[in-house]
Amino acid sequence: METNFTPLASLLGGGLIGLAAVLLMLTLGRIMGATGILSAAIWGTDDRRWRWAILAGMVSGPAAYLGLTGNWPAVEVPVSTPALLIGGFLVGIGVSYGSGCTSGHGVCGMARLSPRSIAATLCFMLFTGLTVYVTRHLIGG
């Protein structure tokens, strides 16, 4: 499935993701990591309410996009349901042991120049690329 190259929209969206990360550190002093926020919202022991508030805000994002542009953001899923299930399960295991994902390590950690986060980001990007290559060019064809 082809998708259009959207440098401006992606840069703007990325800037907003960064803005959210900076505002969260400025106000609550927390890292904007989807994994950590979700995990501690469900299983955490300290104040979980602000985490649920952030999750509610995140889920409202597409509706805000609809309000601004008149369209829902595109969510095209070019993979099968088993791939979603297995992929989702592996993502859940991986981000738990890796202590973070694209937002926590990839954005916040890289911006702090944390060697741990840079190592994690390089590692998952490499394996994502390899997996896409294997499923699309070696198996899928």
């Binding site: 550190m25 989807a34 969510v75 592996l90 694209t102």
Partner: protein, 171 residues
């Protein structure tokens, strides 16, 4: 106030994800498909987000503390160990199979698409499984000790054992 701010910050994040294309697995997977239908857009998402955060953090972290908390809660774990790398590798494989990462999928839930819900439930199951395995292993480690000495650190970069508050290190 903390809750209103948190909601608005989540909203900015979710809007950013929606505008950037990170909520769209077709676009995410095409970024990684350099040998096929390559779409370099995600480079601009990551670039924009990291640059804004880099300069924003430099400004924020010079302040004495956050506005609505006592301290900046920064991850203290510096170890680049097997757990970090194996976990990240497994995450990468899952991301490559499904096309969703947690930060993309959570906002995408707001579109009400069934595929996102399926992914999110599977991801929660994975997170739950990891916690279950961790608890089991911790319980086993607390069983009658075989030797008197403490287990050696995992690798040369492990400076100190993980403290009890280590869950806070999850970014």
């Amino acid at each position: 106030m903390r809750l209103i701010l948190s909601y608005l910050i989540g909203l900015i994040f979710g809007l950013g994800i929606s505008i950037s294309g990170m909520a769209n697995p077709a676009k995410v997977l095409n970024f990684f498909d350099v040998a096929g239908s390559w779409d370099p857009s995600l480079l601009f998402v990551m670039g924009g987000a990291v640059v804004v955060t880099f300069f924003g953090y430099r400004w924020v972290l010079k302040r004495p503390g956050p506005s609505f908390d006592q301290i900046f809660h920064l991850p203290q774990n510096k170890a680049i160990d097997v757990k970090l790398l194996a976990g990240s590798a497994v995450f990468g494989i899952g991301w490559g199979l499904a096309g969703f990462c947690p930060g993309g999928a959570l906002p995408a839930l707001g579109t009400g698409k069934l595929e996102v819900l399926i992914f999110a439930l599977a991801m929660l199951a994975g997170m739950f499984a990891a916690r279950l395995i961790d608890t089991r292993m911790a319980a086993r480690l607390q069983a009658p000790p075989l030797h008197e000495h403490q287990p050696a650190p995992h690798g040369p970069l492990t400076h100190k054992p993980r403290d009890p508050g280590a869950k806070a290190d999850i970014t």
